[in-house]
């Protein structure tokens, strides 16, 4: 087993631009007009990842809990902003996304750190940062899909929801079917990923560990934990998001607002 890995120097890194050039050329040939977006994505990807690389190096070196907390809070804030940006029709989506992503990721991270990894130091950035990144990213996608689907479910089932209200249902009771449909839609991507992992795709964390020289058998164990933790985090996030967002569509007198 190799314990070292091939480092990518500046010239090799520059060579990787050839892949983006291929995509841009195809866009030009097919007249999809995605050249500008691809160029922006190339530049953004480079600077964002380089910046995060240096930030992570500094956080790892400092070994201070508050730097890890600042990093996690920033990740959650950006994730909340992004989930809310994709769905503008849900009132208060940013706050809902931040609360639900925080709850989903922190609860699951707590279980992993204390029961599975049994880390000595709760803020050990080597584990906290990458695992929280995966939890927050997947929770963000879940919240975003949930907001989108819940809004369309309520809009298209307005008659049914009002029929339930007219019979004495509370908003929570009246939204039962819509919430279930929205949570299901938000959970499907993460369930599908869990189903095909190892057959159709080799996940990033496992691949990264293998390239870094880890024993594939150990990498697989990590990946199994990762694959199991994601549905839990997304479930918690979407459950909280659905409850909080659902209420925003009703008045205090339990009337469905105009949409």
């Amino acid at each position: 087993m190799h314990t070292s890995y091939i480092k990518i120097d500046e010239i090799s890194l520059a060579c990787s631009l050839i892949f983006m050039v291929i995509a841009i050329v195809f866009s030009y040939i097919e007249k999809t007009k995605l050249e500008k977006e691809l160029m922006i994505a190339t530049v953004r990807c480079f600077f964002q990842l380089m910046a995060v690389g240096y930030v992570l190096r500094a956080v790892f070196k400092s070994d201070k809990w508050y730097f890890v907390v600042i990093l996690v809070v920033t990740m959650i804030t950006v994730a909340g902003f992004d989930a809310a940006r994709r769905e503008k029709k849900t009132p208060g989506a940013f706050l809902i996304a931040v609360v639900s992503i925080t709850a989903g990721s922190i609860i699951v991270m707590g279980i992993i750190a204390s029961l599975i990894l049994k880390v000595d130091c709760w803020y050990n950035p080597q584990y906290i940062v990458p695992i929280m990144g995966m939890l927050i990213g997947n929770s963000m996608n879940g919240a975003s899909i949930l907001f989108n689907r819940l809004y369309s479910e309520i809009k298209s089932n307005r008659d049914k929801i009002e029929a339930r209200l007219s019979l004495g249902a509370t908003p929570k009771q009246a939204l039962g079917e819509s919430v279930a449909a929205a949570i299901k839609a938000a959970m499907i991507p993460v369930i599908n990923n869990t189903m095909v992992v190892g057959i159709v795709s080799l996940p990033g964390m496992m691949t990264g560990q293998i390239i870094a020289g880890a024993d594939p058998a150990d990498s697989v164990r990590y990946q199994i934990v990762i694959m199991y933790m994601l549905p839990a985090a997304v479930s918690i996030t979407t459950w909280i998001s659905a409850r909080m967002a659902g209420n925003r569509f009703f008045t205090e007198a339990m009337q469905l607002r105009e949409m």
């Binding site: 007219s166 004495g168 249902a169």
Partner: protein, 222 residues
């Protein structure tokens, strides 16, 4: 004391005009009426005059921008909403059926307030012949029923809550003559047997007369 009293009801709505430009209108515009307990009260008028809006205000699916509604002398804005909606039950014009069987639909309201569902089912079974249903209807998928059958299930679902006041929004509008006559008979029967106050909205003069109660005419909105 009146079962229901409405004073000067106004709801301000923004609706598209014939050129699809949004215009603000008062629908209904200053409507007042009183209905005695056990009375059948029919609201008639052309489309868009605010008949259905009045029923939505009475069931508190919306609140008026001006005016007040009193139920047994109390302002409905001060009553618990879910209890009010069970007491002043609304049968919507287009029946929206829920997931599950016909029985699940009918027992939906009682299940929300912890009623004895076994006793409620037995009560519903005694009402089935009156609605021209046989007991097998309870196990059927409501989405596979005819429009007339759905409308009767819709009425059954609302009266399963044992409301004091039954609001019916155009209950015969989409039915053929025979089905409409059947529904009007059911409405008259509910009023007679349970002394339920009926407030029915219709735009069909014949059905308003057949309902056999007091009729209030509404003017078209200008």
């Amino acid at each position: 004391m009146f079962a229901v009293r409405a004073e000067n009801l106004v709801k301000i709505r923004t609706i598209p005009d014939k050129d699809s430009n949004p215009v603000t209108k008062r629908i209904p515009d200053g409507v007042s009426f009183s209905v005695e307990k056990g009375e059948i009260f029919v609201i008639m008028g052309p489309s868009g005059c605010g008949k259905s809006s009045i029923l939505r205000l009475l069931n508190r699916l919306e609140d008026p921008d001006e005016g007040s509604i009193f139920y047994n002398g109390k302002n409905i804005a001060e009553l618990p909403v879910t209890e009010l909606r069970r007491s002043i039950g609304l049968v919507m014009q287009i029946p929206s059926m829920f997931e599950g069987t016909v029985l699940d639909n009918i027992l939906y309201g009682p299940s929300l307030c912890g009623a004895d569902l076994k006793a409620k089912k037995e009560e519903i079974e005694t009402l089935l012949p009156w609605f021209s249903f046989d007991p097998s209807i309870l196990k059927r998928d409501p989405d596979r029923l005819s429009v007339g059958e759905k409308q009767r299930v819709n009425i059954l679902r609302t009266i399963a809550n044992s409301p004091d006041v039954l609001l019916l929004d155009e209950p015969t509008a989409s039915l053929d003559a025979a089905s409409a006559a059947g529904v009007l008979e059911i409405i008259a029967g509910i009023n007679k047997m349970k002394n339920t106050t009926i407030i029915m909205v219709t735009h069909i003069p014949e059905h308003a007369e057949k309902a056999g109660g007091r009729i209030m005419m509404m003017e078209p909105v200008s």
